[in-house]
Amino acid sequence: MPVEIRAVSDAEAAPAALPAPRRGATALRGAGLLVVLAALVLVGLLSVWTGTRGIAFSATWSALWNPDGSETSVIIHDYRIPRTLLGLLVGAALGLSGALMQALTRNPLAEPGLLGISLGSSAGVVVAIAFLGVGSVLGYVWFAFLGAALASAVVHLLGSAGRQLATPDRLVVAGAAVTAVLYAFNSAVLLLNPRAFDQFRFWTVGSLAGRYLDVVYVVLPFVATGLVIALLLGPSLNALALGDQMGRALGVNVHRTRILGAVGVMLLCGAATAAAGPIAFVGLVVPHLARFVVGPDQRWVLAYSMLLAPVLLIGADVLGRVMGAPGEVQVGIVTAFLGAPVFLALCRRRKLVML
């Protein structure tokens, strides 16, 4: 990991070293995307294979393709496959929402977890469950969206109070303030409601465990919509990277792009949080990693973020299961351990470059 941190910060510190577009670059990036895809398949298989119950790889493989109702088959099809699929969805959503936020705000520290947007979603879910008696994921996913939208609006208003563009560090502090309020609120509600607390104990740290396929089906349409929005925005975001005025001169509808982007972030972040609880740092680290690999072209950054993030998330989930055996460490904790050093490395840079 430290090697990567160095590399990221060096590449960022020297924008002059950005690779000039050359022939074959697209083919190379496309091939890279295939490599990431292969890594994703590999990590997915690993996630299906590892777990509390040791199952030989050959048995896993055969049970994967021939569900026969045996215990092994049930474990794999009812527990591990939904979990892996959820990791795929949540990871892609988090990576894309982080990349979208960084592009829209031109802020290298923008990320749903750090800016309090994930906690906004979870506050929405807490309200839905504790006060309105909503029990199903399909019921509270809407509250997650609402919470995400409200929290991001408040954080951006606070971060840009004073009419200048929100600077990276101000936005983070505003996010911390909103997080503090929401964290206290969530804790108070949950402590007053011990039965809900037992359910939330694992949910609030961000976990992929104990979710069944129905959760995947519920969040799939929202993630898919957000995904399409994000990928379609790529070219406009490229123009916006030059500044609002330049973007307008290049024929981009700045307002529409921003609003669509905000909707995309809300959908992706809300769905991910409703499904897995707040998970920080994935949305921060992955776009930086992607930018390091493919350079500043937003279309490629978005595509790579979408595939790299699930690799990281499912990998972290596997790591949590291996490290925590016979129990497990929640994936949100593992990603914080992996991501916080990257955040601190970004903070140490002489100047927080505006993207």
């Binding site: 520290l109 750090l114 606070l158 109070a161 004073g162 009419r163 200048q164 990276p168 560090d169 101000r170 983070v172 502090v173 505003a174 911390a176 303030a177 909103v178 997080t179 503090a180 309020v181 929401l182 964290y183 206290a184 609120f185 804790s187 108070a188 949950l190 402590l191 007053l192 011990p194 607390f197 037992d198 104990r201 694992f202 609030t204 740290v205 920080a280 740092f281 129990g327 460490v329 929640q330 949100g332 904790i333 914080a336 351990f337 916080a340 050093p341 955040f343 601190l344 903070c347 140490r348």
Partner: protein
């Protein structure tokens, strides 16, 4: 009351022929009382604020001791305190309510002084131990001892101290070559905080459900079930750590003028800084060991005290009183407003603290715009 700041300012000195103006900045505010060879400076406003805070403290203490599930009269409380009542009032006052109150007062004072020292050292109103991760570091240390070792109060305090000092060292190292000033420190601290929060969450998931529920209540900062052992621990810490803080704070107001000026005035800047940093971290750590990480007191109390007294330097005594008042008051409010639910005080201070931080951000941006 005839004070120096009641007298009209001296008329501006006439410009000399060379065009230079002789400034007579008023260095000393307040009244100077002299008796023989001894003199003492009394600042009327600070005195009034301190007295008012003390009076409010007494009022909060009385309400805390007399009300609750079982109402007591003031007379009964006083008799119980004097040890002349052997019945139920003695148990309620001396075993249940008094230790909790003393813990609240001492923890509030310790956090406020810690915050006053640290915000002064970092030169940043946001640079308080709860924002830049020191309290979370102490919580990691204490929680490790609680969950993994089931340690005694002394061991928990030691764990918190080690955690807090390690966090301070880590943040210091991360800011090496960047100075301790500015927004960057706050952002770095928030990053460290997030990492430590993950450690805490991990420790909680390692615990059984009952332990986890307790640890969760502890993590948000709670005064519930605090007995004499907790009160003694934090009072002892205050007794040891507050005197050096008060003594050194006089130098701190010179350090605030800048390293060069302070050195010229005869202050050993490096040593003063280091000592006060350790004192500040230790105060926050011991407070955290007793109650868990309580937000907001360390952030807000010094600022409130400074605004109320309008002093130039860190006003430690008013800050300590304000902190004690805030925490005891918040605890009382959380207990009474949500009764019969046992809401930890941290939920109240966390909410107010976040809102206060938001207000601070808004006003600071106004200042920067002006």
């Amino acid at each position: 009351m005839s004070t120096a700041h009641d007298t009209p300012p001296a008329p501006p000195a006439p410009a000399t022929a060379a065009g230079r103006r002789v400034h007579r900045p008023r260095v000393i505010t307040g009244t100077v009382l002299r008796a023989g060879g001894l003199s003492v400076r009394v600042r009327g406003r600070a005195l009034v604020v301190t007295a008012a805070a003390l009076a409010a403290l007494v009022a909060v203490a009385l309400v805390s001791l007399t009300t609750g599930d079982y109402e007591l009269s003031v007379g009964e409380v006083v008799r119980a305190l004097a040890g002349q009542d052997s019945g139920g009032a003695d148990f309620i006052v001396n075993t249940l309510r008094l230790p909790r109150l003393l813990t609240a007062l001492a923890v509030g004072a310790a956090l406020a002084v810690s915050g006053a020292l640290l915000t002064s050292l970092t030169g940043n109103a946001l640079g308080s131990p709860d924002v830049i991760g020191f309290t979370n570091g102490s919580a990691v240390g204490a929680l490790t001892v609680i969950i993994l070792m089931h340690g005694s109060m002394t061991q928990i305090a030691a764990g918190a101290l080690v955690g807090g000092l390690a966090t301070a060292a880590a943040v210091h190292l991360l800011m090496l070559g960047r100075g301790l000033h500015g927004f960057r420190l706050i952002v770095t601290g928030i990053g460290v905080s997030a990492l430590l929060l993950a450690v805490n969450s991990y420790l909680i998931t390692r615990a059984t459900f009952q332990e986890a529920l307790e640890a969760q209540a502890w993590l948000i900062g709670s005064l519930g079930n605090r007995g004499w052992i907790h009160a003694q621990a934090i009072l002892l810490a205050c007794a040891v750590l507050l005197p050096p803080a008060f003594v050194l704070s006089r130098r701190l107001s010179m350090v605030e003028m800048g390293d060069l000026t302070a050195t010229a005035l005869g202050v050993d800047v490096t040593r003063t800084r280091a000592t006060l940093l350790v004192v500040s971290v230790a105060l926050a750590a011991f407070a955290t060991a007793v109650t868990g990480p309580i937000w907001f007191i360390a952030l807000a109390a010094p600022q409130l005290a400074r605004r109320l007294t309008r002093t130039a330097g860190p006003a430690l005594l008013p800050a300590a009183l304000t902190g004690a008042l805030l925490l005891a008051g918040s605890d009382l409010a959380a207990q009474r407003l949500f009764a019969p639910a046992l809401l930890p005080v941290g939920t109240a201070t966390g909410t107010i603290g976040g809102l206060y931080l938001i207000w601070l951000l808004i006003t600071e941006s106004r200042k920067s715009r002006a």
